[in-house]
């Protein structure tokens, strides 16, 4: 493989602790190496430019059945956005629910090289993998959803952690999944009965288990297995005024549990899109930010990581396994609604949504997301996401950087709100003058998420031995710049390397890369009871047989990267 030496760039790397100093970065055989290890490298002149590791997205909805429902039922989303294929680039379309091809290219253009699909319904894992393999360049993994799964509900009702863990290990292998995802624990199953779970003690109908038992049980099972990532959580009561108490109650369930993982993470719970979970008040008329309470907790408890779920003020497509929430949303905005029940496992809904700067609540949501990042004491534990496409499309990450790095940019946005004063009254953002620097941005978008995922040995930094994922941006942090320069520079990487292959050269995509699918193979002791339960449930309830369920073989995962975990004891 070609050798590269990226010379004289301003490097921002939390792993090496470099905060904008000039440094050279060398790539050889797909990995970062010492600069002395390259003999005849191709030189990339990064003088006056910013160099960072490839970005890592810990939570986005980019592949699978609900993304595809979004694509199918929103032809208007791709009406005017088509781009014909040209050279190496294939045809691209779509805005909030882009084609897989555009997904890969647009992440690459922002300097991202690893993206995790945040919710895979196990029954449709095959579809999810087919879409991921059709997404070029990026290394990807997918989180199967467990929080409303009948096996999980039955095992955890009796606190059978070992059985739950054996089932998780089996399902991760069957679906080629990466982590344990929980969406509205118990609430989506309750939705199949026309109900919901509004707080952590609200019992699930029929199963007679509470969300608190599910959450705590799944954290314990996750740590029993010692998986690379922690339990990945979307709590109950998303998107409702006054829900911050439910969020804090959910956080507290992680107290006293220590991480058991050889993969270097410190947290036992990652809570996603916390913006949607940080609302005070008791109606949309008096909804207000509770980001201070939420961040007060997060800052003082280092066994939790979170991501933002930043509202970007766009027209977008919401999609979640939180079925009851999507019904709530369509009742609010009267736009079209898709709903799906996934047999014994989960459900989902899809509704278009317009986050308008002319609506007070949208302005408040925008402010809350930024507050989370700006109130963070440790940017290694608070990550940039838009819960793509729920709070906005991922292509807005550079715009979020602008808002985080510039009070001027935030003031411009405040001025563009129709109800500026009401938004300011209901939030803390106007009183926050913190401006993040590129080192902190690198923590939020690279080193932090990589560590939380248990992938710090591969991604998130520029230390020798890590994957050769490097982005070079046409941005000189030592020269004066306008806020919009940030958005422009980080929206179009000048060069990008993925696993040592040059993907972008002079802002042009020059390779479709060699994408890999990450999955976790957790070995556990033989568990005849769980295997009997699996067989029985498939015979009695599933519409497919086990043979038509498992993701296996070259067709679904042509280029796997398996992370082995030994949980036999």
């Amino acid at each position: 493989m070609a050798e590269y030496l990226i010379k004289n760039g301003f490097v921002f790397d939390p792993v090496l602790g470099i905060k904008g100093d000039k440094a050279d970065i060398a790539i050889k055989d797909g990995k970062i190496v010492e600069t002395t290890a390259v003999k005849n490298p191709k030189i990339i002149d990064a003088t006056g430019k910013t160099v960072m590791a490839g970005g890592v997205d810990i939570h986005a909805h980019v592949a699978g059945p609900k993304v595809n429902i979004g694509r199918n039922f929103r032809p208007e989303d791709k009406l005017f956005g088509y781009k014909a294929g040209k050279g190496i680039e294939r045809m691209q379309g779509g805005f909030s629910v882009p084609t897989t091809i555009r997904t890969g290219y647009n992440y690459a253009r922002m300097g991202y090289t690893t993206v995790m699909e945040a919710a895979m319904p196990p029954l449709y894992a095959r579809h999810t993998h087919e879409e991921m393999q059709a997404t070029p360049i990026l290394d990807q993994g997918a989180y199967p959803v467990f929080g409303n799964n009948w096996f999980v509900l039955e095992y955890l009702k009796n606190h059978e952690i070992e059985n739950a863990a054996a089932y998780i290990a089996w399902l991760l292998r069957a679906t080629k999944g990466y982590a344990v995802k929980v969406v509205n624990p118990g609430g989506t199953e309750a939705w199949a009965w026309g109900l919901n779970c509004d707080n952590v003690h609200d019992p699930v109908p029929y199963f007679d288990i509470t969300p608190a038992q599910i959450i705590k049980g799944l954290i314990e099972a996750n740590e029993y297995l010692g998986l690379p990532h922690s339990m990945h959580m979307h709590a109950n009561n998303l998107g409702n005024p006054g829900n911050y108490t439910t969020t804090l109650d959910s956080f507290k369930l992680s107290e006293g549990i220590k991480p058991n993982s050889k993969f270097g993470r410190d947290q036992v719970m990652h809570h996603t899109h916390v913006q949607f979970h940080s609302y005070g008040g008791d109606s949309w008329a008096n909804v207000e930010s509770k980001a201070k309470d939420i961040m007060g907790y997060v800052n003082s408890h280092d066994n939790i990581t979170i991501d933002m779920g930043q509202v970007t003020l766009d027209e977008t497509t919401t999609m979640t396994a939180d079925g009851p929430f999507e019904h709530h949303l369509t009742e609010l905005n009267h736009l079209k609604w898709a709903n799906a029940d996934v047999e014994l496992e989960t459900g989902s809904g899809v509704v278009p949504y317009i986050y308008s700067p002319n609506i007070k609540v949208c302005g408040i949501q925008w402010a809350i997301g930024l507050e989370l990042a700006l109130l963070a004491k440790d940017s290694m534990r608070v990550f940039m996401t838009t819960d793509h496409p729920n709070a906005g499309p991922f292509i807005r990450y550079p715009r979020i950087m602008k808002w985080l790095m510039s009070t001027e940019a935030r003031e411009q946005q405040f001025d563009a709100f129709k109800y500026k004063d009401k938004v300011i009254d209901a939030t803390n953002l106007a009183g926050i003058d913190r401006e993040l620097d590129l080192f902190e941005i690198a923590q939020m978008t690279r080193a932090g998420p990589a560590k939380s995922l248990g992938l710090a040995h591969m991604y998130g930094g520029l230390a020798p031995g890590l994957e050769g994922d490097v982005a070079i941006f046409d941005f000189n942090p030592n020269e004066p710049y306008a806020p919009d320069d940030i958005e422009k520079a980080f929206g179009g990487a000048e060069h990008l390397f993925k696993t040592g292959v040059q993907i972008i050269s002079d802002h042009e995509i020059v390779s479709n890369g060699n994408k890999r699918t990450l999955w976790v193979n957790a070995k556990v002791n033989d568990n005849p009871q769980v295997m009997r339960d699996v067989k029985e449930k498939f015979l009695r309830y599933y519409t497919v047989t086990l043979n038509n369920y498992e993701v296996s073989g070259h067709h679904y995962v042509p280029n796997p990267y398996v992370i082995e975990v030994d949980a036999t004891q």
Binding site: F73, R74, P75, E76, L79, A84, H334, L335, K336, P352
Partner: protein, 268 residues
């Protein structure tokens, strides 16, 4: 106002997608530049001049520009798409999407138009001297934003799915219409001077539909309220007022529920 005349000289093998036939695209341009504007046949890009003879002169701004299009345009789509000002005169039949997402100005078609004319229209005026196809003033497939403002006048008949998801503006049809009128409408005014068939106002939330002739079958979601004497588009008469769609959500104004209104003329 300056006039550019486009005369079709070569019929496309498939269909010609010519959203550059707008005052916005040609304003301020020289003839050579207009000739070089892109048009599409399937996935291939061509020049406007490959299919049209270009003559005349464009105005400095769209508002000062008039385009006259001559020859058989029944295989040309998107004429006047997204135009904001000025005028387009089509001396022929035209294919789909005439004046789609139009924001201002005026389009006159001296012939028939195919489906989706005035889709998502936000302003301006479309006059069709012949018949209109399906989805006149409707929303694009999947979209909930149909015609929002402006006026469409059809001398002849219109097809099915007229004014689907219409939110504002006015459509006047001189002749008859096919099934599905004002489906999902949340505003706007539809006047049908001939006969209608069935499924008028299905899932209608707000807005007005006037029918001068017969209605084959009334939706079960509409109820008769009263007879009213009104004037509609210059015609005075007595109309039976129905309200619906009762199966849909409706907002309240001063404690009163606001329904979609369907007026049918009562003839002696």
């Amino acid at each position: 106002m300056e006039t550019v005349t486009l005369t079709i000289k070569d019929q496309p093998g498939l269909f010609l997608e010519a959203d550059t036939i707008t005052p916005d695209a040609v304003a301020g341009k020289k003839t050579e530049e207009i000739t070089a504007l892109p048009v599409y046949v399937g996935r291939e890009e061509h020049r406007l001049g490959d299919y049209f003879e270009v003559s005349g002169k464009a105005g400095a701004t769209p508002a000062e520009t008039k385009i006259v299009v001559n020859g058989d345009l029944s295989r040309v789509k998107y004429i006047g798409m997204k135009m904001t000002a000025g005028e387009v005169v089509v001396n022929s039949n035209a294919d789909m999407y005439v004046g789609a997402w139009m924001q201002g100005g005026k389009i006159t078609v001296n012939g028939n138009v195919d489906a989706f004319a005035g889709t998502g229209m936000k302003g301006g005026e479309i006059t069709i001297k012949g018949n209109a196809g399906n989805y006149l003033g409707a929303a694009y497939r999947g979209d909930w934003r149909g015609m929002q403002a402006g006026k469409i006048t059809v001398t002849g008949n219109a097809g099915s799915d007229l004014g689907t998801f219409m939110n504002g503006g006015e459509i006047v049809v001189g002749g008859d219409v096919d099934v599905h009128v004002g489906t999902h409408a949340e505003g706007g005014k539809i006047v049908i001077k001939g006969n209608a068939k069935r499924r008028l106002g299905g899932q209608m939330v707000e807005g007005e539909i006037y029918v001068f002739g017969d209605i084959d079958l009334m939706m079960p979601g509409f109820v008769y309220r009263e007879d009213v004497d009104i004037e509609v588009d210059g015609t005075k008469g007595r109309f039976a007022l129905y309200e619906g769609d009762l199966g849909e959500r409706h907002r309240k104004r001063k404690g009163q529920m606001i329904y979609g209104k369907l007026y049918q003329q009562i003839r002696a």
